[in-house]
C-alpha cells in the first residue's frame, strides 16, 4: 500500500463499492416491477381473447399509447367512484381511529384496578387477520338477520310489539313503526361496514402509540397548568394534544399507507358491490385486462403520492421539528 493507492481508494470509494450490491438490488427490486407495470399500461395485454389471440402476449407490437388510460379514466365507469371511495374510506378510518384512540388512551392512562388486563384486551383486535375480522363483523355483528344487529333490532321490535297491549301506555307504543335492521351488504352501506370493522381493528394501534407517548408526558407541566387554573379540557388541548402531535402524525401516515390498499374487507363484505377502492378495481381489471389493470395501478401510485405529499404537508411538519 502506498500513498497513491490510498488516494484512489480514498475514504469514500471503498464504502461506496461495498454498498453497491445492496443499492443495485434495492433499485432492481423497485424499478423492475414499476417499469413492467408502466410498459403493460401502454400496450394491449389481456389474458384471454379469442378474436385477437396476439393480445394475450405482452409485446411492443400491441402498443396502445394512452389508450388504456383513456379507457380507465373515461370509459370504465368505476374509476372515479373507486378514487372517491378510497379517499372516503381512508379519511373516515383515520379520523375515527385518531379520535377514538385519543379518548381511550387518555382514559386508560390513569391507574385503576385491572389496568394491565384492560390494556391487553384493548390491543388484541390488532392481532386478528383482516379477513377473519371482516368475516366476524359482517356475519356475527352486522348481519341483519343472524348478527347482533338483527338480533338487537328484532328484540326491540318484539318488546315494542308486546308493549302495545299494555294498559295506559299501549297506545303510545302502538304508534311506533317496526324498525328495519340495516343491511351492511347493500350498495350504500357496504363502505360503512368496512369503515366500522377497520376502525375497530386499527384503533388499538392508535391507542398503543398514544399511550406510550402519554406516559412520557411531563407531569409538572400539568401541575403548572392546574395552578394556572386550566380545566381538564384546557390541559388536554394546550398540553396533551401538542405533546401528541408527533404520534398522531405517525398514526395518520401509517394508516394512510395501509388503508389505501384495503382489499380483504371489501371482498368479504360485498365483493365490490357498491364499494370499490383502487386496489379492488385493479383486481377486477386484472381478471382479464392486464393493460387496464396496469394503467389503474400507475394511477393508484400517483394518487398515493398525492395523498402522501398532502399528508406530509399538514401533519409531517410535526415530524420535522
Amino acid at each position: 500500500m502506498n500513498a497513491g493507492m490510498a488516494t484512489i481508494m480514498g475514504n469514500r470509494t471503498l464504502p461506496r463499492l461495498l454498498q453497491t450490491p445492496a443499492v443495485v438490488l434495492l433499485l432492481a427490486w423497485m424499478l423492475v416491477p414499476l417499469s413492467m407495470t408502466l410498459f403493460f399500461s401502454f400496450i394491449r395485454y389481456v389474458l384471454n381473447n379469442l378474436r385477437k389471440p396476439e393480445w394475450t402476449t405482452p409485446s411492443i407490437d400491441n402498443w396502445r399509447g394512452w389508450g388504456n388510460y383513456e379507457y380507465v379514466l373515461y370509459k370504465a365507469k368505476d374509476f372515479w367512484f373507486a378514487v372517491e371511495n378510497s379517499l372516503i374510506i381512508v379519511g373516515s378510518i383515520i379520523v375515527f381511529t385518531v379520535v377514538l384512540g385519543l379518548a381511550i388512551a387518555v382514559l386508560i392512562n390513569r391507574t385503576f384496578p385491572g389496568r394491565g388486563i384492560v390494556r391487553v384486551l384493548l390491543i388484541s383486535p390488532f392481532f386478528i387477520m383482516p379477513a377473519v375480522n371482516a368475516v366476524l363483523w359482517i356475519n356475527m355483528i352486522l348481519d341483519p338477520v343472524l348478527g347482533l344487529n338483527g338480533l338487537a333490532i328484532g328484540g326491540i321490535n318484539n318488546m315494542v310489539a308486546s308493549l302495545t297491549n299494555a294498559p295506559l301506555v299501549g297506545w303510545f307504543f302502538a304508534l311506533w313503526p317496526v324498525i328495519e335492521p340495516i343491511s351492511f351488504r347493500g350498495t350504500e352501506t357496504s363502505a360503512i361496514a368496512v369503515i366500522i370493522m377497520v376502525t375497530w381493528q386499527w384503533t388499538p394501534f392508535a391507542v398503543l402509540i398514544f399511550m406510550t407517548s402519554l406516559q412520557s408526558e411531563d407531569q409538572q407541566q400539568k401541575e403548572a397548568a392546574i395552578l394556572d387554573g386550566a380545566s381538564a379540557w384546557s390541559q388536554f388541548c394546550n398540553l396533551t394534544l401538542p405533546h401528541l402531535a408527533r404520534p398522531i402524525a405517525i398514526v395518520v401516515m401509517i394508516q394512510a399507507i395501509f388503508h389505501l390498499s384495503l382489499y380483504a374487507e371489501i371482498e368479504i363484505v360485498s365483493r365490490g358491490n357498491g364499494n370499490k377502492n383502487l386496489p379492488y378495481l385493479i383486481g377486477e381489471f386484472a381478471s382479464n385486462n392486464i393493460g387496464a389493470a396496469s394503467a389503474t395501478g400507475i394511477l393508484a401510485v400517483i394518487l398515493a403520492n398525492i395523498v402522501a405529499i398532502f399528508l406530509l404537508r399538514i401533519v409531517g411538519k410535526n415530524l420535522m421539528d
Binding site: Q220, L227, D228
Partner: protein, 342 residues
Amino acid sequence: MAGLTLRNVAKNYADVNVIESIDLDIKDGEFVVFVGPSGCGKSTLLRMIAGLEDITGGTIAIGDTVVNEVAPAKRGVAMVFQTYALYPHMTVYKNMAFGLKQAKTPKDEIDKRVRAAAEILEISDLLERTPRALSGGQRQRVAIGRAIVREPSVFLFDEPLSNLDAALRVQTRIEIARLHQRLGTTMIYVTHDQVEAMTLADKIVVLRGGNIEQVGSPIELYETPDNMFVAQFIGSPKMNFFKAEDLTKKGQAMLKGDVDRLGIRPEHFTTTDVKSALVVATPDLVENLGENALVHCITEGGMEFIVKTTDLTKFKQGKKIGLTADKARVLGFNSTTQKRIG
C-alpha cells in the same frame, strides 16, 4: 398578600406517614425557606400548600381562609418548579399569559402585566421564543415570570436553582432575593442546600423525617441550634462534636450536668499552647481553598474533625497542636436526647 397558618398538618400516602404534624406561622411578606435532607417531606409540604397534594390531616390557612378544600388556582399561590415546567409548545409570551387567559383577564391587561414582568426579569426580547430555544437560566426567568404575572399572594419555589450550574445559581439566588425586596410578597422556598437557606431566608424551617426540627432566623439557627441535627445541618463544613476522651482536662471541665458533647464550628477554632487548649489534635490533611484552608485533624481520642483557618503556618502535618475557642462559641449537647443544653 397574605401570611400562612399551618395547624397539625399531616400527610399520609396509603399507610406511609410522610408528614406527622406540622404547626407553622408565616408572616405576610416573609421569605421562608424549608430546608432539610432529601426525602424529608419539603416538597410534599409545599405541594400541600399549593393544593397539588391532598391534606390528610390538619388545616392550612392562607390569610384568613382555610384552603384545604380550595382549588389550587383559587388559592392565590404561584409555583416555580424545579424542572421549570414551561409549556413547551407555547412562546414565552403565551407561557406567561396562560394563567391570566384561563382567568379570562382582558387582553390589554394581560399584555400589560406580561410586559411588565418581562421588564423586571429582563426577558423582554425573548417573548416570541419557545422554551426550547432558551438557556437554563432564561427558562428559569420565564418560570418566575409566569408566577409573577398572576400577582399571587404567596410564591412557592421548589428547588428552583438545582438545575443550574454553580455560577448561575449564585446569580439567580441574588435575583430572587432582589425580587422579594421589590415585590414584598410572601415567599416559601424549598431547598436541600443550607447555603441557599442561610442567604435567602428571613426564617428557616429545618425539617427532618416529616417533622420540624427548628424554626428561626438564619443567625439563630447558626448560633443557637436546638439540637445536634440542626447544629450539623446549618453551617459548612459542619459542626464538630467532641466526647470526653477527645477533650483535654480543661475541655472536660466544660462537660457539666447533662452535657456530654461539646459542639464547636470549624471556623471558631483558634490555635493555642497545649496547656490552655480545649482539644489537642494532630493535623492530618490540608484542603487549601485559597481564602482559607480546611485542616483535617485527629484528636487524642482518635476522632477526625475539621478546622477552618486562614493561617496555615501553625499547622504542621503530624505535629500536635492545641486548639481552643471563645466560650460563647462552644455549645453543650446531650447525645441521648440530641438536645442543646443551656
